[in-house]
Structures are given as structure tokens and as C-alpha cells.
């Protein structure tokens, strides 16, 4: 009995406030826009169920797939999320590796310093980069000391890469560190004793053993980056299309809620596979830890 209360409360909460909202999004994506408040035709009208089903159609989806504005935004998001995940991995790996080799008593402190930026506001950290990257910003001020012409980075896709790598770096470092820290040094010594050069030991022993951490880190960066809104909006300017920004402007500027819902449903379908893989990876790691 008590067991069912413990399970029931969080289960019920998540069903009502996490799962059911998705079903509503899906339903509304099938309805038509109306210029009322709320700006869509009512979805549930039990008195007239037949009219309700007749009113549902895939019009919004047809529109999204026929308009290059939306398909380009999906492609651009995929591309930007993929490239920045790769960049984050390349930058995070040596940092996590160095942390794992640091003296034991320093490691908790180093971990805390990686986590600390995660606790400060995302918005503020992205904002900090505007001051650095903009035309008359601190980076160009610094470069002018060396006679280098001002660079145009703010309001380009490069600023978006920098923003994503910077904001999500802790999410990559922590799982990498966790898997590297567990690595048994005897394995590395054994490889060395058998005459393996360091780079070969790295690729044949260290890296394969850190794969669970690499996977977890990549999912933690890739999935949220796909739907990112703040970074492309503040750093990418009007030229950078990303689907999170498109959804935002459909919702807030055009007030087309059904279309915004359809955009969200397609994004969700694109993310289902990585989310399921992420979950499985987490579960495997938990079971391995037992």
C-alpha cells in the first residue's frame, strides 16, 4: 500500500505534466489556426465527436515540408548541433583526461570548478559572449593591439558554435571524466610493458574504455543543442536559422500555435532515437555500477 503511494505520486505528476502535454501538442498540431484566444480551434469537443475528427488534418505538416524555410531550419539545426557536439568532444577530452590524472586530493575541487558555470544562468553566459565577440567588442579590442583587423564573428554561425561549445562544455567534461577516472592504471602499464607506444595505448585501450562517457556526453550536448533558442537568437543574428528559433517566432510573433506545435512534433520525432539511445546508455552504466 505504502509502496504504491511512493510510486504513485511522482508517476502521476510526470504523467500529467510531462506525458499528457505532449499528446496535447500532437493534437493541436493537427488542428487549424483560428484568430481567437487561444489561437487554435478547440480540440476536444465531446458533444460533436465526428466534427472533431473531421477537423483534424495534416495540413500543417504538409505546409512545413513544402516550405524550404522550415526544411532548411531543420537541416541547419542538425548540422550545427552535430558539428558543435564534435567540437565540444575534441575540446573536452583533453581537459577530462588531465583532470583524471590530477592528484587525487585535487580532483573534487576540479570537478566543482567544472560544475560551477553550469549553476550560473545560461542566458548570462551567452550574454557574456556578445560583449566579447561583437564588432567593437573585447576580442577585437585585444586583437587591435597586434594590428589585426577586426573580425566579424557576432551574428554569424561561428558565434553559434562558440556559444554552444561554451555553454555545454561541462556536460561533456563530467561524463568523460567519470569514465576516465574509473580506468584501471594497470591496463595502461600492461600495454606499456608489452611495448605499445603511448598514442597506440590511447587509441586501443583508453579511448575504447571511455566510450560510455563519450556517448553520454555527446547525447547531453547534441539533443538540447538541436532545439536551442537562446544561443542562435542572441549570437547568430538573423542569418542563422535554427529550428528552436523558428518555433519561437511561430509561437510568439506569428501566433500560429498549431504550426508551432507541428514544428515541435517533427523536432521531437527527430530526437526520439537519440533520446532512447541516451536512456539505454544511462541504464547500462547504472547496471554496470552495481
Amino acid at each position: 500500500m505504502r509502496r504504491w503511494i511512493v510510486i504513485g505520486i511522482p508517476y502521476f505528476w510526470l504523467l500529467v505534466l510531462f506525458l499528457i502535454p505532449f499528446l496535447i501538442v500532437f493534437k493541436i498540431s493537427l488542428s487549424d489556426t483560428a484568430s481567437a484566444m487561444p489561437p487554435y480551434t478547440p480540440v476536444l469537443d465531446f458533444a460533436n465527436l465526428r466534427a472533431f475528427f473531421a477537423g483534424l488534418d495534416f495540413e500543417n505538416y504538409g505546409f512545413i515540408f513544402s516550405d524550404p524555410l522550415y526544411t532548411n531550419a531543420y537541416w541547419a539545426s542538425l548540422k550545427i548541433a552535430f558539428i558543435s557536439t564534435l567540437l565540444t568532444l575534441i575540446i573536452a577530452y583533453p581537459v577530462a583526461y588531465g583532470m583524471a590524472r590530477a592528484p587525487k586530493q585535487w580532483q573534487p575541487l576540479l570537478v566543482m570548478f567544472v560544475i560551477l558555470p553550469f549553476w550560473t544562468s545560461f542566458l548570462i553566459r551567452v550574454y557574456a559572449w556578445i560583449g566579447i565577440l561583437k564588432k567593437e567588442g573585447l576580442l577585437n579590442l585585444f586583437l587591435s593591439n597586434f594590428g589585426i583587423d577586426p573580425l566579424t564573428i557576432h551574428n554569424t554561425v561561428y558565434a553559434v558554435y562558440i556559444g554552444i561549445v561554451y555553454s555545454y562544455l561541462p556536460f561533456m567534461i563530467l561524463p568523460l571524466y567519470a569514465s576516465l577516472e574509473k580506468l584501471n592504471p594497470a591496463l595502461l602499464e600492461a600495454a606499456q610493458d608489452l611495448g605499445s607506444p603511448p598514442w597506440k595505448t590511447f587509441w586501443q585501450v583508453t579511448f575504447p574504455l571511455s566510450i560510455p562517457g563519450v556517448m553520454a556526453g555527446c547525447f547531453l550536448v547534441f539533443i538540447p543543442a538541436m532545439g536551442e533558442f537562446v544561443i542562435p537568437d542572441l549570437l547568430g543574428g538573423s542569418d542563422t536559422l535554427m529550428i528552436g528559433k523558428t518555433l519561437w517566432s511561430e509561437f510568439f510573433s506569428n501566433r500560429d500555435w498549431p504550426l508551432a506545435s507541428a514544428v515541435a512534433v517533427i523536432l521531437l520525432f527527430m530526437l526520439v532515437i537519440p533520446i532512447v539511445l541516451f536512456q539505454r546508455n544511462q541504464q547500462n552504466q547504472r547496471e554496470a555500477a552495481r
Binding site: 511512493v6 510510486i7 511522482p10 508517476y11 505528476w13 504523467l15 505534466l17 510531462f18 502535454p21 496535447i24 493541436i28 487561444p38 480540440v43 575540446i91 573536452a92 583533453p94 583526461y97 588531465g98 583524471a100 590524472r101 590530477a102 576540479l110 570548478f113 560551477l116 558555470p117 549553476w119 550560473t120 544562468s121 545560461f122 542566458l123 550574454y127 557574456a128 556578445i130 560583449g131 567593437e136 573585447l138 579590442l141 561554451y166 562544455l169 584501471n184 547531453l220 539533443i223 538541436m226 532545439g227 536551442e228 533558442f229 537562446v230 542572441l234 528552436g244 518555433l247 500555435w257 506545435s261 515541435a264 521531437l268 533520446i275 541516451f278 536512456q279 544511462q282 547504472r286 555500477a289
Partner: protein, 274 residues
């Protein structure tokens, strides 16, 4: 893994940390800039901070943000604790896979999707948008983070002490409250702090789920950021960073003290047993 740190290791850690901290550091330094122009250093000044306190709208937004953060993180910690117990202690019940999916999915779900879906729920059931819808939304997101933090602690928890309490006649509830909870308390506190700061910092979900009269501080910051970089925004940002940093440091210190005390107790028990 341990071993000697090579120069390459030291340099990569140093560069990584420099990359993480220099932007924040610059932002903090320039909040004390006397000049209105962000790139021109006009000497030290705290005048932007004084201006903030007189900005009534900003103070109102800060108050809303703080209230939402306290209420939502408190509910979220309780729910997260329950969810963590379910994830670690209850292995077989119908729908377990769905449950763990619902706990982990919000961690990576793009915020625009979570925000939109919650808003559509509130509209569908006719819930007026404002303080409470925002609080419910933040509770839902942050309880998942709280659950992950607490379950990590419950996994390496020595269950035998709990079993000992039950063998001595304590009910499962009593043994949990009097034995387990005090031991995992530091992780519960860090779960609360994490939930609190996530709520404090959230901008995207808040924009979807709040209503007139409940504008939050990040929303105010965003609308000003769109107009350009100003020392005032640097000043609010610095204050927010300061509050969070203080909280984290206090939590870390108290956790360390709890650990030292625990070790001392264990030593005393060991000494008594000899």
C-alpha cells in the same frame, strides 16, 4: 586512473578552465566600469548597482523569480526524492520503463518543446497563466534533476543500516526517516540547491508558461539584452552569479563538515569496539 600529470595534461586543464571562466570574469569586471560604453574602461564604480535598487520593475521581477524558485524547488525536491527511491529500490512494477523514461527525458529535452507543451496543457484545462503555472512548470523540470542527484547517492548507500533498524523493530517509514534520510541529507540539500538555481536561471520555459504580472528576472534581462550590451545588465548578472556562487560554496562547506563529522563518529565507534 592516476599517474603523473604531463605538461600536456596541465596545459589542457588550464586552458579548459580559462575558457570556462574568462567570459564570466570579464562580465563581472565590466559591471564595475564607470563608463557607459562597454569597451571603454572608465575606472571603477558601483553606480550601476545603485541604479538597480531604484529600478522598481526589476526588483518586482526579482521577487517573483525568488518566490517561484523557493516554492518550486521545495516541491521538486520532495518529488525527486520519491522518484529516486522508486528508481533505486523498486525494481518491478508495471510501467517502470515508462517511469524512468519520464525522469530522464526532461534532462535533455529541448526547452522550447517542454515550454510549449506545458503551456498548451495549461490553456487546455483553462488554468490562468501566472505564478502557479510557472511554479508547476519549474517543479516538473527540476524534480527530474533532483531525482538524478539523489538516486546517485542512494545507489551507493549501505542498505544494511536500514535493515538493522527494521530488525530492531522500526517500521520502513520510520527507518527511512530516522536512518536513511539523515545519511543522504547532503545530497538532498544539493538537489534542492540545483533545483533552486535552475528555476532562478530559466528563461525559455518561463517565457512560455508565465502570464501577465509574473515576469521573471531572466525575462527582463533578455528583453534588455536584445537592445544591446549595457553595464546595468552586467550588474544584475553579477548579482545573480554572486547569489548562486555563495549558495554553492556554503553547500560545499557544509557537506565537507558533515563528512568530517561522520568520519570522526566512525573512528569513535571503531575505537570503542576495540
Amino acid at each position: 586512473m592516476k599517474g603523473r600529470m604531463t605538461w600536456f595534461n596541465v596545459t589542457s586543464v588550464a586552458l579548459g578552465f580559462a575558457f570556462l571562466y574568462i567570459p564570466i570574469l570579464l562580465l563581472v569586471i565590466y559591471s564595475f566600469n564607470d563608463s557607459k560604453l562597454v569597451t571603454v574602461w572608465g575606472g571603477w564604480s558601483t553606480r550601476w548597482y545603485a541604479g538597480l535598487l531604484n529600478n522598481e520593475e526589476l526588483m518586482k521581477a526579482a521577487w517573483v523569480t525568488l518566490r517561484v524558485a523557493v516554492v518550486s524547488s521545495t516541491i521538486a525536491t520532495v518529488l525527486g526524492l520519491l522518484a529516486a527511491i522508486v528508481l533505486t529500490r523498486m525494481n518491478r512494477f508495471p510501467g517502470r520503463t515508462l517511469f524512468s523514461g519520464m525522469v530522464f527525458a526532461p534532462l535533455v529535452m529541448p526547452e522550447v518543446i517542454t515550454g510549449l507543451s506545458l503551456l498548451l496543457l495549461f490553456v487546455a484545462v483553462g488554468f490562468d497563466r501566472g505564478f502557479w503555472t510557472l511554479t508547476l512548470a519549474h517543479t516538473t523540470l527540476t524534480m527530474c534533476f533532483a531525482a538524478v542527484v539523489i538516486q546517485a547517492r542512494l545507489y551507493d548507500f549501505d542498505k544494511s543500516v536500514e535493515e538493522a533498524a527494521m530488525d530492531l523493530g522500526a517500521s520502513p517509514l520510520k527507518s527511512f526517516m530516522q536512518v536513511t534520510l539523515p545519511i543522504i541529507a547532503p545530497s538532498v540539500i544539493s538537489a534542492w540547491l540545483l533545483a533552486f538555481t535552475l528555476s532562478l536561471d530559466d528563461f525559455v520555459i518561463a517565457s512560455f508558461t508565465t502570464g501577465p504580472g509574473a515576469t521573471t528576472l531572466p525575462m527582463k534581462i533578455y528583453s534588455q539584452v536584445r537592445l544591446g550590451v549595457t553595464p546595468e545588465i552586467n550588474a544584475i548578472s553579477t548579482l545573480m552569479i554572486g547569489v548562486v556562487a555563495l549558495g554553492v560554496i556554503v553547500a560545499a562547506l557544509s557537506q565537507k563538515r558533515a563528512m568530517v563529522r561522520q568520519q570522526a563518529e566512525t573512528r569513535a565507534v571503531d575505537a570503542g569496539a576495540k
